[in-house]
């Protein structure tokens, strides 16, 4: 036991130092900056004010937030609709092939999502692969306008985030006790009833985890909307970036950041609560 003491201290100490330096400190700085005044020749004037938070109440910024939430929610729902059957089939596959399929889900992670978004541009652009293929097949006579549209943005978001949905769903579906399904079947439940009353409740923790892992990053992925949507929309991420760079209003940018962090914390808390309830519900 004694020999392990120093290791424990080093390990725990490293993690705490890391978190304090790279998570706590920057967030504290953002919080402090958010209650300062905008400076003329400096980024801040050291005077306390809540003006930046009051400005966030402007309907304009509310609509920016709602647009971001809507896009993130839509992405999450689509990822769930695609990811659930995908994960189900994955969990059903023979063990040997399953490892390979899982690897294929994970491989895109090896490339930066920014690079993968540029790859989407190559597929979708006017003289891109999809248009050339459709033209070659004679299905269309004029190239379609695919890039810089809302569907392009949604497709890009789903593509980037789908693995985050599949992996937790797979973990939940894999643990699914098949005997419970057989029992439900023996007791006369139809396929739809089994799915609705047995499979979904049992995999609910996976669904919630997947939804969180998709929804939260989706809120911040403004570069997908910029690259695939033609930068015609204003999302929270764009707003924050513009405050730090174009408008040089660091306090307001910090306030918007703090608000977003707060919102995410709230969602995490809701997740924690609901997953506790779901886990309790799953136990007999």
């Amino acid at each position: 036991m004694k020999t392990r003491e120093p290791f424990k201290w080093v390990a725990v100490g490293t993690i705490w130092t890391w978190l304090a330096l790279f998570a706590l400190l920057p967030n504290a700085m953002v919080l402090v900056a958010s209650v300062l005044e905008r400076g003329q020749d400096q980024f801040f004037a050291f005077a306390f004010t809540l003006a930046s938070y009051r400005r966030l109440l402007d309907p304009l910024y509310l609509s920016v937030l709602l647009d971001s939430l809507y896009l993130a929610a839509l992405t999450t729902v689509l990822c769930l609709l695609i990811g659930y059957p995908f994960a189900y089939l994955l969990a059903q596959a023979p063990a040997r092939r399953r490892a390979l399929l899982l690897l294929l889900v994970i491989i895109p992670f090896w490339t930066s999502s920014l690079v993968r978004t540029y790859a989407m541009v190559i597929l979708l652009k006017t003289n891109g692969l999809i248009n050339q293929m459709l033209l070659g097949l004679g299905w269309i006579s004029e190239p379609l306008e695919l890039l810089y549209t809302t569907p392009a943005v949604i497709a890009g978001m789903c593509y980037a985030l789908l693995p985050f949905m599949i992996l937790p769903l797979y973990a939940a579906l894999e643990k699914l006790d098949r005997r419970l399904i057989e029992a439900a079947h023996d007791l006369g439940a139809g396929r739809v009833t089994i799915f609705r009353r047995v499979i979904i409740p049992l995999t609910l923790p996976g669904i919630i985890a997947g939804a969180m892992l998709t929804f939260l990053p989706a809120l911040g992925m403004f570069y997908v909307a910029d690259l695939l949507g033609g930068a015609k929309t204003m999302l929270v991420g764009n707003l924050i970036r513009d405050q730090f760079l174009a408008a040089r209003d660091w306090p307001f940018g910090s306030a918007a950041s703090a608000m977003l962090t707060g919102l995410m914390a709230l969602l995490m808390w809701a997740y924690y609560q609901s997953s506790r309830r779901a886990n309790r519900g799953a136990l007999p």
Partner: protein, 344 residues
């Protein structure tokens, strides 16, 4: 959001990190704005290694330099009014003219501008304009003579605008006959309302590589920098440029020495090196845009020298203006910019 937070944290923390000890010249420049061979030649001649890093907007450069007070950077290339801002805020140091034997090569018309009256702090590197670029296969020449022509419904969903707040507001203000440097909220709001009507024509906002959107036929026309048009025209000669009658926007990117520079001598040597006609010519040939170096222009191939996109006539620039610092009005611009993008 996380990226922004993290970048902010890095910016704030960066002041703690001290610069490297080695006498290496640190050059912070726009991306795709200097051929690598020029750097190699400088190192070969002087024995001074150069560390080269790049930015893609004045705003990013300014935020970084301001946070570290310029320490760790020797030479920077800000545009027009950023020179003024950085000079006033003490982020730059005076340039010793006696160390620049080639200063006389510069076009006197590009010197002594209001942003730096005696060129005490800045030496012009390249200059250019923002005007209208169009694909002559899709737009007949002469159809886009004015900024106001962009509002034609024929261009629905076919235009590119630079993803730059001040540049976009400039075309709104100009079509209404206002100054591009106005600080009057009523005029800015009027420009916003005018720009709202332009939005259905806008297919994409981009200032990272706008020419590629033209070359890929995503857009047929839009606002563009002259150097982008020139580079794009090497690939597709149909990409052409026009100087809008209401006036183009002029800018000069200048070499400046950061107040926190540690290699002031090397920085002067580099400036003088770049002012040499052969070097200025190499840079101009590779990068496009326009050289402020008169003997260098004479060395350029005739096709470049006579290219009106790069070397405009006096009439082309008769109404052209420089962007100036708008002070606190920047937040007014920003509010209407957010509104324009959010569509309300």
């Amino acid at each position: 959001m996380l990226r922004t937070l993290f970048a902010g944290a890095l910016l704030l923390c960066a002041s703690v990190v001290s610069a490297a000890e080695k006498p290496t010249l640190v050059l912070y420049n726009w991306s795709e704005y200097l051929p690598k061979k020029v750097l190699r030649q400088f190192t070969k001649e002087t024995g001074i290694p150069v560390r080269y890093s790049t930015y893609d907007s004045n705003e990013v450069m300014y935020a970084k330099i301001k946070t570290v007070k310029g320490v760790g950077y020797d030479l920077i290339v800000p545009s027009t009014y950023y020179v003024d801002r950085m000079r006033r805020e003490g982020l730059l140091q005076k340039i010793d003219r006696s160390k620049l034997s080639n200063f006389g090569n510069l076009n006197p018309r590009l010197l002594n501008q209001s942003y730096d009256p005696n060129n005490d702090y800045s030496i012009p590197y390249l200059w250019g304009t923002t005007g209208i670029g169009y694909n002559a296969d899709k737009v007949a020449p002469g159809q886009l003579k004015r900024w106001a022509d962009l509002w034609d419904p024929a261009y629905r969903n076919k235009l590119l605008l630079l993803n730059d707040m001040r540049e976009v507001f400039s075309i709104g203000l100009r079509t209404l006959g206002y100054s591009i440097n106005t600080t009057d909220e009523n005029q800015i709001r009027a420009a916003y309302e005018k720009l709202v009507e332009l939005m259905p024509n806008v297919r994409v906002f981009d200032s990272e590589s706008p020419k590629t959107k033209f070359l890929a036929n995503e857009v047929v026309a839009g606002m563009l920098w002259n150097g982008e048009v020139y580079q794009g025209s090497l690939e597709n000669p149909k990409l052409q440029y026009s100087y809008p009658e209401e006036g183009a926007t002029l800018w000069i990117d200048s070499l400046v020495i950061s107040a926190g520079a540690q290699n002031v001598d090397a920085a002067h040597q580099f400036i003088d090196f770049v002012l040499r006609p052969e070097i200025a010519k190499q840079i101009n040939e590779e990068v496009g845009y326009s050289s402020p170096n008169l003997p260098a222009i004479q060395l350029l191939p005739e096709k470049m020298r006579n290219n009106r996109a790069l070397y405009p006539t006096d009439a082309d620039l008769s109404k052209a203006d420089f962007q100036a610092d708008v002070g606190d009005a920047l937040t007014i611009y920003d509010r209407y910019w957010q509104r324009l993008k959010a569509g309300r």
